[in-house]
């Protein structure tokens, strides 16, 4: 071997430097160039027609001011979206009711952005209902890695101000720089063949002012189920309490309502823990077979929505000035 030469040179395979540099530039340029557009494409109004992200139509609905000057605004996570039917509430209460659809990952990223924007562009509602399961009352302190956050990031980059985006970037730089790769995966490979399902879901949301039936798991829990201790251990109240204080004004009442939970063997432990940690009315316990068997233990099947909505109606009725009876 010749001393003073690199391996490439020793193997007599070195091409001219400029040719190799050109090759490497082309190779890296393709991902490099394609990395930038997603940040801008999501802000285009027409993107709503192209997006294949699973919950895009639902989340985007919340940002498009779909029901002007609602009397009752429900803000929660996916539990509210699948568990409550605002159109049923509207028919019973005679008030305009809107749910701002959300999901777990989106709340992690967006916090109360959709509610804040809604309040900026509409008259203050008579009542805001914060609707969450007992173990999701402390979003502000959750780690972003616990659930997929693409939907939330997409909404942030679409509807957030540059300041809001920058604040998120400061707190979560690693997640933020991954956004373009997530964008391509969601729009190209992950959901390409599921768009039709999402469209149907969006139509239902528009017709009901924010409700979509659950899609995903097909199995339901049974009465032998056990709510995982990790969920019970998550019952903390700080974040939602902060929200309630923030939005409570003389014109607008607020209420924190805990979503119903399945009648698993240890459901009472959830009730006990809720009473110990919060001053809230505990969750109603509903038959376990009305809940979908996913890891969340709170998503109602369509057959349980009417009953859950009736329970909520009874809870909010005393807080409205002239509810229809």
């Amino acid at each position: 071997m010749d001393i003073g030469k690199t391996m490439g040179e020793q193997a007599n395979i070195s091409k001219s430097g400029s040719k190799l540099i050109f090759y490497l530039i082309i190779l890296l340029a393709i991902p490099g160039i394609l990395y930038i557009p997603p940040f801008f494409v999501v802000r285009l109004p027409a993107y709503s027609k192209w997006s294949c992200a699973a919950d895009f139509p639902l989340l985007d609905y919340a940002f498009n001011n779909p029901v002007k000057n609602a009397d009752v605004v429900i803000f929660g996570d996916s539990t509210a979206k699948v568990g409550i039917d605002p159109s049923q509430m509207e028919a019973v209460l005679g008030e305009k009711v809107l749910d701002l659809p959300n999901n777990f990952g989106a709340v992690l990223v967006l916090n109360d952005l959709s509610l804040r924007l809604y309040m900026e562009h509409n008259k203050p509602p008579k009542l805001i209902v914060f609707y969450f399961p007992p173990w999701n009352l402390d979003y502000g302190h959750d780690d972003l890695s616990i659930d997929p956050i693409y939907d939330g990031m997409e909404m942030l980059f679409r509807h957030g101000t540059s300041r809001e985006i920058f604040t998120f970037f400061e707190g979560h730089p690693f997640e933020s720089i991954q956004f373009p790769w997530m964008f391509y995966k969601e729009n190209i490979s992950a959901n390409l063949f599921k768009r039709e399902n999402f469209r149907k879901e969006a139509q239902q949301v528009a017709m009901t002012n924010g409700h979509a039936d659950y899609i995903g798991a097909t199995l339901r829990y049974n009465s032998l189920c056990t709510i995982p201790p990790r969920l019970i251990g998550r019952i903390k109240y700080d974040w939602v309490r902060g929200l309630a204080e923030k939005y409570s004004t003389p014109e607008t009442k607020v209420m924190v309502y805990l979503a119903p939970i399945p009648a698993c063997r240890n459901a009472q432990a959830v009730v006990d823990r809720t009473q110990k940690v919060t001053e809230l009315q505990p969750s109603k316990i509903m038959p376990a077979n009305l809940f979908m068997d996913d890891k969340y233990y709170v998503h109602l099947d369509a057959s349980g929505v009417r009953e859950a909505t009736e329970q909520l109606i009874e809870a909010v009725r005393p807080l409205l000035d002239n509810p229809k009876r």
Partner: protein
């Protein structure tokens, strides 16, 4: 840290390359020290505590090497130090890999309810243990020389091979670390290495990870499966394992090449093999060489010595006698593959996997030695030869698929259940919602087309001398259009592939061989 993670691609690798370039401006020793440091940092990213274990193992073996080679003068025989070091190395390996699974096995066999929690297996423990044992054995035999500590540390820990191989041999690596050459980034090596890395990454992310989504639900199923489902599971896993491990090896060789270091090949289109012996010369080649050099050959030599002592024949000519064949070929082969099976894991299914391959290879040897030579070769047309070759390749593939059911199954009984389902036609009422048969078959078909009909990555790169083996430098059998060159077409093609891989690899999965 995983090769298929953003943190590796966008943080670790650029820093390692820049550091290499800077260190290269000073002296070779700085380069060795930098690469050693980067490799330790790479290992520590997984679990910093296990860095102590890795460093202890290196220190122990380095001292043992010094004692064996008499760099530390001592009156005790080097054979004693060698045996002691091997025992210590294997004890460490056994503790982490076999002790608790064995205790649990014994416990359940005797009907006890006592259960021990398995300890976390330190990544790459088998690989760095075997690499070091081989070095000590060769030191003892005078084949290797004791090295300076930084070269030795780099030889054991160099990050492209640390976790899952290839298993490096000192005679290949030490000269490259000690060679007086310019240690700086070479554009040619960078282009070859990075292109190779992308090809390997694509194998992992676009094929292995997708095939895993088909194989995993089938191998983890709790409900009865149909014949077609079990075949889909077995074929998917066979291809998953191939794309996973060969993808990892491509990435390892590509990364090393980016630092102007050549590794030995680890894969050479094993699923194109026309016999099981051929298969093992193409699959995990460095492990095959290792077990041949450090297990099979010593066992065979030991038996040979015993036979000579007893006055029995050991000539090649007598190998066609069944008794000689059994003692000189079958016993060493079965023993070697039995141990190789155990190396892969503590379950009975791994023992069956190894023994089955031992049996395959013994039969293959027997066919060659006892029968094949007796059949007079008649001249055959190319068509007949091709047909014969296709039959042999399919037969080999079939044997491999069967053996890998044991390799993947969660237990021996589940492997037997899978095989029974594969060979007794029946339907299942179970709908595995995660597996779409059409999508699965399409992916399997694409995978088979790639492994059977396309050249492998080192053939594609053959004009640029990828790897240490010169046999891989022959580009004559590869269509010209498929030979890699640093031009616009290849730049665009690999750029698009890299882009697709980048957005597909959001939840990086570990490599299958990490568990070994």
């Amino acid at each position: 840290m995983l090769f298929n993670s953003y943190s590796f691609l966008f943080v670790f690798l650029p820093i390692a390359l820049i550091g290499y370039q800077i260190a290269g401006t000073f002296h070779r020793k700085f380069v060795i020290a930098w690469l050693g440091f980067a490799s330790l940092a790479f290992y520590a990213c997984w679990r910093p505590a296990f860095l102590i274990l890795l460093l202890s193992s290196i220190a122990m073996n380095y001292i043992a090497g010094a004692l064996i080679s008499r760099n530390i003068s001592n009156p005790i025989s080097s054979r004693f130090w060698l045996i002691l070091a091997i025992v210590l190395n294997l004890s460490l390996l056994c503790y982490f890999k076999y002790l608790f699974p064995s205790l649990n096995f014994i416990s359940s066999a005797v009907g006890s309810s006592r259960h021990w929690e398995n300890v976390i297996l330190p990544l790459g423990i088998s690989f760095f243990t075997f690499t070091q044992i081989a070095f000590l054995v060769d030191l003892h035999q005078g084949i290797a020389k004791q090295q300076d500590i930084s070269s030795y540390l780099l030889f054991v820990t160099f990050f492209p091979h640390l976790i899952a191989g290839p298993i490096l041999h000192h005679k290949n690596m030490m000269p490259q670390f000690q060679q007086e050459r310019r240690y700086k980034l070479d554009l040619s090596d960078l282009a070859v290495g990075f292109s190779w890395f992308i090809m390997g990454l694509a194998k992992k992310v676009l094929f292995a990870d997708q095939l895993a989504k088909i194989a995993d639900p089938i191998f983890n199923a709790q409900q009865p499966l149909s014949t077609s489902q079990t075949w889909i599971g077995a074929l998917s896993y066979c291809l998953q394992l191939y794309f996973d491990f060969s993808g990892y090896s491509d990435m390892a060789l590509g990364l090393a090449r980016m630092f102007s270091i050549n590794f030995p090949l680890n894969f050479d289109s094993p699923l194109k093999a026309s016999s099981i012996l051929d298969f093992w010369q193409r699959w995990h080649m460095t492990l095959s060489q290792y077990i041949m050099s450090y297990l099979y050959t010593p066992i065979q030599l030991w038996i040979r010595a015993k036979r000579i002592k007893r006055g029995y024949s050991v000539s090649r000519k007598d190998m066609s006698s069944p008794a000689v064949f059994i003692s000189m070929v079958a016993i060493p082969m079965m023993t070697t593959m039995f141990i190789a099976g155990i190396w892969h894991g503590a379950g009975l299914q791994f023992i069956v996997f190894g023994s089955l391959h031992g049996l395959y290879m013994t039969v293959n040897h027997a066919w060659r030695i006892l029968f094949h030579k007796r059949i007079p070769e008649s001249p055959k047309s190319p068509f007949t030869n091709n047909l014969k070759n296709i039959f042999y390749t399919l037969l080999t593939f079939f044997c491999v698929v069967i053996s890998q059911v044991f390799f993947r199954a969660r237990s021996l009984s589940y492997a037997l259940y899978m095989l029974a389902s594969m060979f007794t036609p029946h339907r299942s009422v179970t709908v595995l919602t995660l597996v779409s048969p059409a999508r699965s078959l399409l992916l399997i078909l694409i995978g088979l087309i790639i492994v059977w009909f396309l050249p492998n990555t080192q053939q594609i790169l053959s004009r640029f001398q990828p790897s240490l083996q010169e046999s891989a430098w022959d580009s004559s059998k590869v269509p010209k259009q498929l030979l890699w060159a640093p031009n616009t077409v290849w730049g665009l093609s690999l750029g698009v592939l890299f882009f697709i891989v980048l957005f597909q690899m959001q939840d990086p999965s570990t490599f299958l061989y990490f568990q070994f």
